[in-house]
Symmetry: C2
Subunit: 322 residues, 2 copies
């Protein structure tokens, strides 16, 4: 029985542009996708829930953007080229203004990345956005978490800590200048997935992850999976410009543990330094070398005098066994 | 920061069994899947929300089964062989007894179908289960909705209407014998996706769909996409055994519009009748021929005297233009 929710579903049913990879899009029991010859399909799912991943009343256009961006960031961290995505959406009511705005944010990013909505599901329920993305990558060139080697450099893309800064502003814990507020909120609401960089790092990076939970925790996943440790230098962290007005401790805390940055953290052999920088230039993203992978397990963060900083992160505690 | 929800996530992290298709499972930014040579990946997503797709307080083991079953049913309707699935789960609290039971139902069906959980996401939020399934099918043998031809037979698998009967019992609108109640609730809570039948129908069926919204509405999708009509005979409908105690009108209404049946409705040329029956025998599922595809648009349901039944379905109204 067609209901208002079938109408919503139709709203998200754009004709799928034909591509060699997406063979059948929205409108059948399944979509059909074939990765290019000798490539695998990379798949990731993220579920965003009101009150946990975004505040009640969040701007729907930004939410549309961010829901897809955080998923594309997982493809970027794998070095995969995005092909398409499916959207499952639960909404408390068929609020057309909300839908128009959400779809605008979602499809603007999809069009920018030249990817297709291939299917999904729409239902009444507490607001919940679940996107699954599909990309392609040659199997032996995928940027996995378990490939880091001792003495690899540790790199991060872009800058860190501003999304957390934006959250503090939004929740009234911090006040910034109008410019810095705009910058921080842009970073929080409109993260840019580092897709081109991920692809450019194929064959150069030994391991990669996207920074969604904070650098310490996410680099921790690489080290855990690679059975290694790392030393990073706090003064080398690329601090976001809007964050520089804060004291050093806040800068370090937000850059190390802020979360929601959606930058890439990756490892690469020192012999690849020039190639990494060239790849980043080609992708139009800055990259910064912040430390080194070590045989010694655990993650150490050093200040300018070479002393270990106390980093208060449960992720850190969890993974850095003494 | 590991929270109780990270622990839940770990609960659903079983080591992925190696297979030729699933190259990388749970534990990285993405999973990696490659369909067999010359096959495409078939993908479908369903989101189940408390209060809409299942009643509050629903048995979690059945919910685990059904959440995966309804997705596998979409693969079946495409003639795809299941390979794996991802699970995104929002839960109001980390209720361990609930999780143990949900996982038992989910993994029992996954093991039965020999498929892998390849990734997902777990978060706190109003109960929401979003599963995306992946299967493989040779591109030119996929059972699409748009392939029906005039004079094709219309078939359905298994029997119809008992899931709706179960819902009526559950909500107190109907009373049945203990045996019939058990049968009807089993059909409602533990649908069996017709995976083997879908695969066996490759090259035989011209079009297929799974019956999730009711036969009338779902067959309507095939006819709409194929730009054709159909005539079906009410007396040929395979009525579920527990439903036979009800009057004829209820039998027909539940079989035609009941929903939640997860049987396959498919079309095939009359020349394939023997092959269809042989395929169904091979798959261990009964199939019943219930009517014929016509050039004349619209869907007609005839009684034993050849008179058109009034079928009260918005799907039917929507699609059957006079």
């Amino acid at each position: 029985m067609p209901s208002e929710f079938d109408l919503i579903a139709r709203y998200f049913t754009r004709p799928t542009r034909s591509s060699s990879a997406v063979q059948l899009g929205v409108g059948d029991d399944c979509a059909l996708i074939a990765p290019p010859a000798n490539e695998s399909l990379a798949i990731s799912t993220d579920m965003l829930v009101e009150g946990r991943h975004f505040l009640p009343g969040a701007d729907p256009e930004s939410l549309g953007h961010k829901s897809l961006a955080v998923n594309l960031s997982d493809l970027a961290a794998m070095g995969a080229r995005p092909l398409g995505f499916s959207l499952a959406l639960a909404l408390p009511s068929a609020d057309e203004a909300w839908l128009v705005s959400f779809a605008r944010g979602l499809f603007a990013l999809a069009d920018n990345e030249q990817i297709e909505l291939i299917g999904g599901d729409t239902t009444r329920g507490p607001l919940n956005v679940c996107i699954t993305v599909f990309g392609s990558v040659p199997i032996d060139r995928a940027l996995r978490r378990d490939g880091a080697r001792a003495s690899d450099d540790v790199w991060v893309s872009g800058s860190l800590g501003e999304a957390r800064l934006g959250l503090e502003v939004l929740t009234g814990h911090l006040k910034l200048s109008a410019d810095d507020t705009a910058t921080a909120l842009q970073r929080l609401h409109r993260p840019i997935p580092r897709v081109s960089l991920g692809i450019a790092l194929r064959g150069l990076a030994s391991a990669a992850i996207d920074i969604s939970d904070g650098l310490i925790g996410d680099l921790g996943h690489i080290l855990e999976r690679s059975a290694l440790g790392a030393t990073i230098e706090a003064d080398l962290l690329p601090i976001g410009s809007a964050l520089r007005s804060q004291d050093h401790q806040t800068q370090h805390e937000f850059a190390l543990n802020g979360g929601d940055d959606y930058e890439l953290c990756f490892c690469a052999p020192p012999a690849q330094r020039e190639n990494v920088i060239a790849a980043a230039q080609q992708a139009g993203v800055a990259v910064t070398r912040i430390g080194q992978v070590t045989e010694i397990p655990g993650l150490r963060v050093l200040d300018h005098a070479g002393n270990s900083l106390q980093v208060h992160s449960k992720s850190f505690d969890h993974f850095s066994k003494p």
